[in-house]
């Protein structure tokens, strides 16, 4: 049995300790906004925050999150930075197929939570692990700057 905070609410799951958080979220809890795409921590589609830091949930055994706090794409609406990022994404129509965008948005939110005015270099450092085959990168970058602007006002 492992218990953790998920989007602000306590959850308890009875699964193999080695099960990656990704599959606990998707197949046990039913929160499917967090995506599977590579299973090796190479693409970032499964990004969630663990105690505020962006992590790859496909590489995070559930045992490691015991007693800690997880936020997924579904939980961002409760967060002012997360909302600003989502709204910027919508204003700029960042998403194409959308499959990687949960991960992009969570990574961007984690970046802005620690750095309210990221430079392009900061964005590269924070976002290079989030692959997008639709190559929405230009709008991802623009939306992060846009969210930073709205958060500054």
């Amino acid at each position: 049995m492992r218990s953790f905070m998920l989007n602000g609410r306590g959850v308890t799951v009875d699964v193999d300790d080695a099960m990656p958080l990704l599959w606990v979220l998707r197949d046990e809890i039913g929160l499917t906004g967090t995506k599977y795409a590579c299973g090796q921590g190479q693409c970032g589609a499964c990004t969630v925050t663990l105690d505020g830091r962006a992590v790859r949930s496909c590489q995070t055994p559930v045992a490691r999150v015991d007693g800690r706090s997880i936020v997924t794409i579904e939980g961002l609406t409760d967060d002012s930075v997360g909302r600003a990022v989502q709204e910027a994404w919508r204003r700029l129509d960042v998403a194409q197929c959308g499959y990687c965008q949960s991960g992009q948005i969570v990574s961007a939110t984690a970046l802005l939570q620690s750095n309210r005015k990221p430079s392009d270099a900061d964005i590269d450092a924070a976002m290079d692990g989030n692959l997008c085959r639709c190559a929405t990168y230009a709008r991802v970058r623009a939306a992060i700057h846009e969210a930073a602007r709205t958060l500054a006002t």
Partner: protein, 755 residues
């Protein structure tokens, strides 16, 4: 937007509506126009109901709450088609864009055929051209009925009624109502025979850069539903063990260790059939558990008939055959085009060049690996899928199960990318899912089964963009004019043995050569094709199909000829487009906006910079790109900027057009820089994003997109952004370094050359 039907209940509802409509419609033919429902009398039984749904045609449903639901016949895989289709219909309906929702159409070619493909499906950037009149007529006829209903209700002439932003008004009497109040009355009216469409000057949504995508909201809060996300009651997830080499067959397996994995529900053999290689699938309610079970299987494979291809050897063979057709050993060189006099090449008085261009196998590597949810029912099958080729999949499943294609119901979900992969002409992953569901049912699991491929399964399953070699000889006359072009192309056929094999004429798969030597005015052209048939690696179209490699060969060769003639590459192209004003205008726009000809000074010691240009037309859309690169002393390459001009006719959603150009360029850059699937002893060497490297955020160039204003009917934008970038990049590298690269991918070649 409401996500595509998520529950079995809604799907059944859709099926019920569908069968009623089929009954009404009988064999009514849907060609280019919209279906105009006859026999409205058949619906009078509903007349007593206080609120009727208003579904004047197959593409729109207006609710009593004034919501406008647009039914999209094409797959939304990122290209913005849901938004584009909705824009067309909402424009003529004068709907309020905020009231508009989109849902995917069910599989039913009688209503949702893609005329350009000859079946229901999405591809070749045909969606918008096919919908241009059809969806607008659907909107205009619905609007006419709402107007008629309002006129009757208010006792005024229909001509005095106006509609704007979802509000129907009679100005003289200051009466206004939203659509919802009129639906019951409108549903009883006969459709107008020939609804009047707007002039472009009246468009409010079409061409409006501020219209936003209909899927952005769901795709930014985690609620957008992909096949990967759908869970039906009692559903089991299947993870499959595939043969290690193409052509291998299962002999036997030991499932003991797999069954010992806690949570594994069952293990089933996947029967091999003509299109399914066969294997073993592990069933569980949790994907990770099913994967662990799959990994624990002990399987013996019969590899007697398996392919042990080495892709390096294949490349050598393609090269040799391109240079000398007789050396191929198999196949026969066919002449696909002979224009003018083939003898001119040998007798030309100016420069003669020969060059060989090579491209590798490419995986699509969509972010969502292939998957498919199947529920077998009595005498039928229901699928939930990011479905790209409904009719072909229905037919293939029908054959496998021995049922009529129409008995295969398909609910459309979002696709997490495709780039062509989900429209597999052989229905590969879809058939595998059905075969597993069959095997599971035989073992007592008569439940929905979702096949989930891992990234590794997806990358190793084949159906790659074929490797190709193009050998081109060309000649200039004494004045430097390009007068002869002879090309021999060698590779596998994508269309052979597929439902599209009818396009192959005289042994020539047109998709192998499409776009070669075009759009230039060259008086003497000979295109030869040698199709390699004895390679077991399955191939498939990949974003922009044959254009993905023919543009590379053509646009690099044109550049080489310009250099050889001592003419600026942009001006050289212009000179070959004297009677192609549209193409020339696109080229000019890109060159002008890029500052072609202006200085590009080094910003660091020993940095070399250069610009390259390329022009290519595919699927009716003309795109020119200018790439700016910098190459450092150690050979490190950076693509700094790409200027892209596009003429796609009327740009329905300029914001989407821009995104597709950006995305097409990024996708093409991944392939040009890094993309290659290689095989060693028949085993695919890449299985994930470590070895199959794709463009990342920090590598994305600054991209500027300029759209040619046009009122011509629209052509598509999903594919055409991709073909020009590889040659533009290679041509820019030449300008920067003097090194001419002719083989993709480029990674490694430049560093080695600069060392």
């Amino acid at each position: 937007m409401k996500p595509p039907a998520a529950r079995a209940g809604s799907a059944q509802g859709a099926a019920r509506r569908s069968s009623r409509r089929q009954f009404l419609q009988q064999a009514s033919v849907l060609t280019l126009g919209i279906y105009l429902a006859p026999a409205r009398a058949a619906e009078t039984a509903d007349a007593a109901l206080p609120v009727r749904p208003f579904e004047p045609n197959a593409f729109v449903r207006i609710g009593a709450d004034s919501s406008v639901t647009i039914i999209a016949k094409n797959l939304e895989m990122g290209q913005g088609v849901f938004t584009g289709l909705a824009t067309l219909l909402a424009e003529e309906l004068d709907a309020n864009w905020l009231d508009v929702r989109v849902e995917g159409a069910p599989a039913d070619a009688s209503r949702y055929i893609n005329v350009a493909l000859g079946m229901q499906g999405t591809g070749e950037s045909t969606s918008m051209s096919g919908a241009w009149i059809q969806m607008r007529q659907a909107g205009a006829s619905a609007r006419a009925l709402l107007v008629q209903a309002a006129a009757a209700k208010w006792g005024v002439p229909p001509a005095e009624i106006s509609v704007a932003n979802g509000v129907v008004s009679h100005q003289a009497s200051q009466r206004h109502t939203r659509f919802g109040a009129l639906t019951s009355a409108a549903a009883l009216l006969a459709l107008p025979a020939d609804p009047v469409l707007k002039n472009p000057s009246q468009f409010r949504l079409i061409g409006n850069p501020f219209v936003r995508r209909k899927d952005s909201h769901a795709k930014t809060n985690g609620s957008a539903l992909y096949t990967q996300d759908l869970k039906l009651p009692e559903m089991l997830i299947a993870v499959a063990a595939h043969p290690p080499r193409f052509g291998a067959r299962l002999i036997s397996f030991d499932a003991g260790a797999a069954r010992a994995v806690s949570g594994v529900v069952d293990v089933v053999q996947i029967p091999a059939s003509e299109r399914v290689p066969g294997g073993v699938a592990v069933l569980a309610t949790n994907t990770w558990i099913a994967q662990r079970g799959r990994d624990a299987l002990q399987i013996q494979w019969d590899e007697a008939a398996a392919s042990h291809l080495d892709s390096g050897q294949l490349s050598a063979r393609l090269r040799a055959a391109a240079l000398d057709g007789a050396a191929a050993g198999t196949g026969e060189t066919r002449v696909a085009l002979q224009k003018g006099d083939e003898a001119v090449l040998g007798s030309a008085s100016g420069v003669q060049l020969q060059a060989l261009y090579e491209v590798p196998y490419l995986a699509h590597a969509a972010m969502e690996p292939m998957n498919c949810l199947v529920y077998l029912t009595e005498g039928g099958a229901s699928l939930w899928n990011g479905e790209q080729l409904q009719s072909a999949d229905q037919a293939a499943i029908g054959t496998l199960l021995g049922i009529a294609p129409e008995s295969v119901k398909i609910t459309q979900l979002y696709a997490g990318g495709s780039f062509g992969r989900r429209g597999n002409p052989h229905a590969d992953y879809v058939l595998e899912a059905v075969a597993i569901a069959q095997a599971a049912a035989a073992q007592g699991h008569r439940v929905p089964i979702k096949l989930v491929w891992t990234r590794e399964d997806d990358m190793r399953a084949g159906y790659y963009r074929p490797a190709f070699a193009h050998s081109i000889r060309a000649a200039l006359d004494a004045n430097g004019a390009l007068i002869a072009w002879q090309q021999r192309s060698v590779g596998q056929s994508v269309l052979a043995d597929s439902p599209f094999a009818g396009r192959i004429k005289d042994g020539i798969d047109p998709s192998s050569l499409q776009g070669s030597a075009e759009p230039y005015e060259i008086p003497n052209v000979r295109l030869e094709l040698l199709t390699i048939k004895d390679v077991a690696v399955p191939v498939q179209w990949w974003r922009s199909a044959g254009h993905s490699h023919t543009a590379f060969a053509t646009e690099c060769m044109i550049d080489e000829l310009a250099i050889a003639a001592g003419v600026d590459p942009y001006q050289f192209r212009r000179g070959l487009l004297a009677s192609h004003p549209r193409q020339r205008a696109v080229l000019d726009l890109a060159a002008t906006r890029a500052g072609w000809g202006s200085a590009l000074p080094a910003r660091a010691p020993a940095e070399r910079r250069g610009r390259g240009i390329a022009l290519h037309e595919s699927f009716g859309t003309c795109v020119a790109q200018v790439a700016e690169v910098s190459v450092e002393a150690d050979g490190a390459l950076r693509v700094d900027r790409v200027v892209c001009a596009v003429d796609c006719g009327m740009p329905i959603n300029p914001n989407v057009v821009t995104a597709q150009m950006q995305g097409g360029i990024g996708f093409g850059l991944s392939a040009a820089l890094y993309g290659a699937i290689t095989l060693k002893d028949g085993v695919v060497q890449q299985s994930n994003f470590d070895a199959y490297r794709c463009l990342r955020s920090s590598e994305m160039p600054l991209i500027e997109v300029y759209i040619v204003p046009s009122h011509e009917p629209p052509s598509g934008v999903g594919d055409p952004g991709t073909p020009p970038i590889a040659p533009a990049l290679v041509n820019a590298i030449f300008q920067a370094t003097g090194q001419r690269l002719r083989r993709l991918p480029l990674a490694g070649q430049l560093a080695a050359a600069s060392a």
